[in-house]
């Protein structure tokens, strides 16, 4: 899923300083699952903002609404009535949702209530880890199902660099956090699968054009003839 973290309330208060009436828009997709931008978080943020502004003697009216997804036009249409009543929107969806909701209502300013972090998995309660870089050219067949682009700090394609030691990535030292070496994981998995010969294969330089936007994906079989 797409993993996001909430922005500090102080940052959001700064963004909302000029406004008297705003909508906080939540999303029931990924951000609900990672407990950042669902109905509950919309309510909490709304309370925090109301209290902070009241305390400053500058009260603000806040509407709350959460829909199925903000990356889908049909759900974003449901915000119409509330958007018409406010000076600005704060979206707690991922960066996609924020922008797509903003596109739907171009005359109302929209602000991000979250930082979108990664495409990750929920490893443990309260812990998410990146697994995919959306590079557009999957190499998992060559690497034992573990992605070197997302999980090696240097996105190397031909094995671990000289900084891999005791299973850890060299970046663990400067960032003071244990980061597993992606290539050690790949090596161990391939070893368990009896496919270590894949470590000897030279993977050529990547076509990063597929990894860098703006990207579009069109499926002719699904597109409608609008002529």
């Amino acid at each position: 899923m797409i993993v996001a973290e909430g922005k500090p309330v102080e940052k959001i208060l700064e963004m909302l300083a000029p406004y008297k009436k705003v909508l906080i828009a939540g999303c029931r997709g990924c951000v609900t699952v990672c407990l950042t931008g669902g109905e509950k978080e919309v309510g909490i943020l709304a309370s925090q903002i109301r209290m902070a502004r009241s305390k400053d003697g500058n009260p603000i009216e806040i509407l709350e609404q959460t829909e199925e997804r903000q990356c889908d036009a049909e759900y974003n249409a449901k915000f119409l009535e509330n958007v018409g009543k406010v000076d600005a929107i704060v979206s707690l969806a991922c960066g996609i949702g924020i922008q797509y909701l903003g596109e739907k209502y171009p005359l109302t300013p929209i602000y991000p209530g979250v930082n979108t972090l990664m495409l990750g998995a929920n490893i443990d309660v309260g812990r998410w880890e990146e697994r995919c870089f959306a590079c557009g050219d999957c190499v998992l067949d060559k690497t034992g199902g573990i992605c070197p682009i997302a999980r090696c700090s240097k996105s190397l394609l031909n094995g671990p660099c000289g900084g891999s030691q005791f299973g850890k990535c060299e970046v663990s030292a400067p960032v003071k956090e244990d980061i597993p070496c992606g290539w050690q994981l790949i090596y161990d998995r391939l070893s368990a699968l009896g496919q270590l010969d894949k470590m000897s294969e030279i993977i050529p330089a990547k076509n990063w054009l597929r990894a860098k936007g703006p990207r579009t994906y069109v499926r002719e079989d699904l597109t409608l003839d609008r002529s």
């Binding site: 240097k154 031909n158 900084g163 060299e170 470590m199 990063w208």
Partner: protein, 346 residues
């Protein structure tokens, strides 16, 4: 002196002094200079002159430890102008394939003939930790790119390159990295990609290096690539202990640390230990030379080389004899207390 666009003679790939020395079968000796964090060639000139005629080539590190420094290619060109032979280090962290190939063309046109291809320390280590790391290609792909330019006369994209650069291609390997069993396989991948010589991470644990060499010999790699272990005179026992625990990708043996700790004079001990390691490497099957990387202590390279009996160098510095040692270098020796290490040089 190497002409800017001369063709390599005979079967030589690049015609560099480094290549000639390896090919001749004589024990190779290379040095290293870290360009400074300032817009001046002073250090490069000073250390370069100290090594003149004493090493076969001098590595110029490329923003080592991810700290911004004078560019490796500019320092390499400076050495060419001084009549010395550079080994241009190029890391994958700071440039994409466009910039790398462009720098290779420029460096070659200036007379640079050796290039050492590395991944590079991650930017998080350096003085701009928030910068964007490039890693457009990895070190193995970079080796392949330099080889393609040399042997096929085309760029990575396949387009023809006229007056293509013909580099002697180096790579690195770290016998102390994990997975250990993969390290020889990785070296083999680099050979397959086109590497002609390898300089290793500095060897501060001889036993582990010997085990690495066993794996290398089992695969017959020593017959396909010239191998120079990196040797580092470590300035103080404290630094050795720090590297033992605090530097990712390094292993420092107890023997190494204790030798420095118990030596009557730590600095002299460090030089003696390096000289001893040179001799041990000379005895090891499959080792073609040594790379003396005196990080932040470059002035001692001439001392180690002479004490280890590696002089004269056969093709070094285009047949120059060892240059006289400058007063500046002598002053640095005095500062470290190693000025009498080789009395006739003092």
């Amino acid at each position: 002196m190497t002409e800017a666009n001369s063709k390599p003679e005979g079967n030589l790939k690049s015609g560099s002094a480094l290549e000639r020395t390896y090919v001749s079968g004589q024990f190779v000796c290379t040095g290293e200079v870290g360009p400074p964090k300032e817009s001046s060639f002073h250090h490069v000139e000073m250390y370069g002159n100290g090594m003149k005629g004493r090493v076969d080539a001098i590595n110029l590190t490329d923003n080592q430890t991810a700290v911004t420094r004078l560019s490796s290619w500019a320092a390499a060109v400076k050495l060419v102008m001084m009549g010395l032979e550079p080994n241009l280090q190029m890391v994958c962290r700071d440039r994409n394939r466009l910039a790398m190939q462009s720098d290779l063309l420029g460096a070659y046109a200036h007379g640079v003939r050796n290039v050492l291809c590395l991944s590079g320390d991650h930017q998080a280590f350096g003085n701009h930790p928030g910068c964007k790391g490039v890693y457009d290609v990895d070190s193995i792909q970079l080796i392949g790119m330099v080889k393609k330019l040399r042997d096929e006369g085309c760029f990575e994209c396949g387009e023809e390159c006229k007056n293509n650069p013909k580099f002697f291609i180096g790579c690195v390997e770290n016998p102390f990295g994990d997975p250990f069993e993969f390290r020889a396989v990785r070296l083999e991948k680099k050979i397959e990609a086109g590497a002609d010589f390898v300089q290793t991470q500095c060897i501060l644990d001889m036993e582990r290096f010997e085990r690495f060499m066993e794996m290398v010999r089992e695969r017959g790699l020593h017959k396909r690539i010239y191998i120079s272990p990196g040797l580092m005179p470590v300035k103080s026992p404290k630094m050795a202990r720090y590297m033992q625990h605090g530097v990712p990708g390094m292993l420092v043996s107890e023997e190494f640390c204790q030798y420095l700790e118990t030596a009557p004079n730590g600095k002299i001990g460090a030089l003696d230990l390096t000289v001893d390691y040179v001799k041990r490497c000379q005895q090891m099957e499959g080792v073609a030379g040594v790379h003396i990387m005196a990080v932040a202590w470059e002035e001692v390279v001439p001392l180690v080389v002479q004490k280890a009996g590696l002089l004269p160098r056969p093709f070094a510095a285009f047949h120059d004899n060892p240059a006289p040692i400058s007063d500046e270098i002598k002053a640095l020796w005095k500062k470290s207390g190693v000025d009498n290490y080789i009395p006739e040089l003092a």
